[in-house]
Amino acid sequence: MEKNEDLLIVENLTKHFKTSFGVVRAVDEINFKVKPGETFGLVGESGSGKSTTGYVIMGIYTPTSGKIIFKDKDVSVHAKRRPKYLKRDMAIVFQDPASSLNPARTVKDIVETPLRVHGLAKNRDELDKRVAELLEAVELPPKDFMHRRPRDLGGGERQAVAIARAIATNPSFIVLDEPTSALDVSIQAKIMKVLMRLQRELNLSYLFITHDLSLMRNVSSRVAIMYLAKIVEFAPTAVFFQNPLHPYTQMLLSSVPVLTDEEEQLKPKEVTSRGEVPSAINPPPGCRFHTRCPFANEICKTKEPTFVMVEPDHYVACHLMSK
């Protein structure tokens, strides 16, 4: 395979789940690339398949079809079948730190587990030193926190422990699955600061999954918008907020509650929110958004739109753009 500059390439990735109601199409043929050291944002509402995408990349689910290429190696299999040195290079921070940390373990146990599994410390002393370093890195004084258990910590502190665990093996890529949505705003700001500092210091790539557009605006360099298992728009963050083109993106942006007048001006005026997300078992034919789209016409109901490049690096999957 030829060398290229992208750290992670996702090609036609599809994940379907069989349930007693039918096949749920959680992720349907999506493509994107993540470059080293960048934050790639994946935005969508609940049920759009953004978390499933993150899980499939991490190997928590086996992809139904499509490819995941990480550091030029094909890893489109379950984590169990991936080589250990590649697993060490990827990590994930989950949404709810209360359920992603084992309540029976101390902070030290939690953070040192990945180090032990991957044999990254020769002896007890080295292990202790490394755990202290990691806690220091996420701004938890090791002396105070080492021997406490998750239930004794606040939400922000718990998430900091989850981050320390994620960076323990020195990964180059981390999936952040709504890392701050369970936290209060003042705590969210603190955790985001830590994440951004770590990214600079350790040259990390992030796949940042969120439903919060205001948050996304402040962290990511490129954004992809997902709706019902499909990506509908790609753009560099600054362009995206100046010139959102897909009607769904406009609806999403116009729904964001804001505080200031400058922000209010950024919101598109033409589209107001209506309708609800259809079921992922029987997604609408053609463009999946046509049931809620104010501009939908005949072609949208039958033919699925393909990606059109409207300006450099800005891609939209909408029939309005193809004309």
């Binding site: 606040g154 003042s186 505080l259």
Partner: protein
Amino acid sequence: MEPLLEVKDLRIGFKTYMGKLKVLNGVNLTVHQGEKVGIIGESGCGKTTTMRAILRILATNAVIDGGDIQFRGNDVLKMDKKELTEMRRKSITMIFQDPTAALNPVFKVGDLLADVIKFSGSHDSGKHSKKELREKSIEALKEVALPDPERVLDSYPFQLSGGMRQRICIAMSLSTAKDLLIADEPTTNLDVTIQDQVLRLMKNLVEKKNLSVILISHALGTVSGTVDTVYVMYAGNMIEAAETKELFSNPLHPYTKGLLKSVPKLTGAGFSEGIRGRIADYINPPQGCRFHPRCDSAFEICRKENPQFLEVDANNHKVACWLYSKR
């Protein structure tokens, strides 16, 4: 004009095995007829406790240590069972945070709605035929813009989506005439596009019926577009109150300032430092102002005495902070 609801210096604690949680530490709140009031604050600051106290639906281990709640000039804390039922049926209604938990899963939506209408007593005779109840239910569902109300009435709550469930909760609380609507984080569990729809709907209905509203939220943006006056709570204290525009453009209390700065902006201004530390422990709350351990401008008196909630300028801007008190 006499206010519709007035809460004065309300203090509430909870008895637990670890000791007594001193949660509310002097809450003041005034709601006038037709006024829309927002309360913001982070999780655990006592927003919901205050609302539950107004309806007297606090948990059984709650202790009311002092204070006064006046609704239309009646003392809520001294009401007997009959008066309370009357008030809950006719005057105050509440929308809860989680519509899934608020709707009984073993009854159809139609039965739930019919019960509310039947017991609200807003109809003179008090007796309704089934047909009448059903018509009124359909009307209520139409009002909240639910498509196909006939089918919704015959569905169980779990067969509907989160947005639809919350609309049903709104329909239940607004189907009969009321004076005050308490909405406790009504859109926290919903997606942004649905949140936008629900907030707009609520605002329209409330304005149409000239209701007073208390909207509680931890998301500052949802409050700013909906209400006239905003109160800020921190660790069981009301710390600031002002007209919505004034509060967001000219915050006075150090906590409000920190909170506003922490909100990520669509304009991409980056992040502030957040507020250091975490919310006060209620078993041993800090002496004096409960915010002082996290406050950068704290001085001597902040550690000793809790500041009073006072007006600081002519615009009815109130704040509880020693920086603004003349002492």
